[in-house]
Amino acid sequence: MTLPGMTLPGMTLAEALQATRVCDADATPYQAALACGFTPLHLETYFHAYLQALDSRRKVQVRTGLFGDLIGNVERLDDGLHAAAIVIEWSDLDPRLGFRQLAGWKPSQLSRIAADLEARLRQLEAAIRGAAAKFPVTVALPSLPLPPAFHTINAKTHRTSLDMRAAIANFTVRVADAGVRVVNVEGLAADRYDLKSDLLTGFPYTQAHARGLGRLLASALASPAPKKGLITDLDDTLWSGIVGEIGPAALSWDLDRRTQIHGLYQQMLDSLSEQGVLIAAASKNDPAAVDQAFRERTDLLIDPERVYPREIGWGPKSESVARILQVWNIATDAVVFIDDSPLEVAEVQRVFPQMQCAVFPKSDPAAALSLFYRLRDWFGKDQIEADDAIRASSIRRAGELQQATTAGAAGQEEFLRGLEAEITFSVNPPASETRILELVNKTNQFNLNGVRYDDATWRRMQSQEGAITLGVSYRDKFGPLGTIAVLHGRASGGRIHVETWVMSCRAFSRRIEHQTLRFLAEQWGVTRFDFAFAVTAKNGPLQALLAELSGAAPTGGTITLSAAEFRKRCPELAHRVLIKEAEAVAR
């Protein structure tokens, strides 16, 4: 069964050593730390290898610390790091809980051990908080068993060990609240401890445990951008049964008819939808029967409104998928396709090789559970923002808007004027607004150069002299789109060097990009824009804008545009503009 963080491939130690050396020729340095109190040995190798394998555009280097000094190692983590993994074992909290020191396991010592552990955890928490304020930090809690230091039989849990575990649990909640990513070690190998290795080398883990933990730590620090949409089949996937044959009333997803797995799948899609994942249906079916099922089966566990669009017909699945992608306007590699038919999955995969396609294992509950865990890894995100909840409805509205534009007798200008559009510029939003960096790192089409940033680098960029970051939110009479664009640059002497500029495809055709440049020109007195532009495989919309404003198709490198030139070519803008935290504007 696939458990959390386990979607990365397994590696032998030899493969891991080789993986540590594979990166792009122009990879940028990425400094990570592994802080632990034991000899890091193979854990370091696997952590390094998986971090490197997750992104070949960076050249990972891993620093470690001193043996037997976990807290000191955490306290010494410096500002130059991009990320840190901290691995705690019982012996780091009290040497009597390890096997390398002979400090006594007398019953009379037990209460002292618990009290000392609480104090050590407080000290460790302070050090971890200090590190987490500077760069992303992940923590692994004790994963090895406690020693036989307690006077009860092994079948019983001693009260002191319960107190210790409670202290660890409280510590975990506190550091998680401080933004630390706590890894989930539940799925790791049962055979974790190697006493001989611990005694002879100071490395306490079995190979399997080192590999599993290294993989989890790397995944927690550098998980790839979450996917954005899921396209599902209906018959024998979203529900059990063929709706065109048995009718909506006979469809099932419950224990009584042994079709609970479909109910769990609906529940999973409902959950994903609420966290902002787009859900659509592609089904070879009778459209009327499907409409009837969505209308009449009010016990569906996913709101039918959240399944948009629904492509129902008898053509190839790949054509349905293509139409859905057109409505969503997102890249194929950001989409997952699920169908119970291996044939359909293969057909879609052939047409969209970048898409993550998977068979829904309707007759194999264990495989279905693995799929559910994989869905979490594909779509998982640390926080759910208000924008996530409105993404699906704004996609639907974008479709309606497109229809209104083309169907209306009035021209485009009149239509835009009638939108009652409102743009809010959030100037230099705080680093805690995770939506900003998330948008930068997942937007492909309207993207100035395709450069992605890790948390630590992004935070450093915000503190550079003259740095300006704009978070752009939009709403109109059709409703809010939320935060849909980000621009980051550095202003100096009437010029602004724009390093990052992205906009969600949901916000196209509203002239938000023009209003953004006008806002910069007016607020900062900008007379010249220098765009750090690069051609990417997907940034056609951005290229089109630069061509429109500069009068020439852009090639790579810095594109210069004078404010006068911009004003000359800027179309009519009918937005109402609001500024959030205007007092933070640094001129």
Partner: protein, 80 residues
């Protein structure tokens, strides 16, 4: 050299190449701990583990001090 010994040495050479990427292939058969930069205690354990993986065997960590050259490892493997 017998065929099994040649095969052992070829596989052992791959292990050395993975752990010591800067060691040229012609120097690997002559490699010994004092002469190879970076062959410290951590590299020694790493080499032993890579050899265990390659040959599907378990090597007692207590033998580590004695397995300090290509020749010593080759001889140990040929006795398995």
């Amino acid at each position: 050299m017998s065929a099994p010994a040649a095969e052992i040495n070829a596989r052992l050479t791959r292990c050395f190449a993975v752990v010591f990427p800067d060691l040229s292939p012609d120097r690997i058969p002559l490699a010994s701990q004092p002469d190879v930069p970076g062959w410290d205690s951590v590299a020694a354990i790493t080499l032993l583990t890579v050899v265990e993986e390659e040959f599907g065997i378990k090597i007692d960590l207590e033998l580590l001090p004695d397995l300090d050259s290509f020749a010593a490892l080759s001889e140990h493997l040929s006795r398995q």
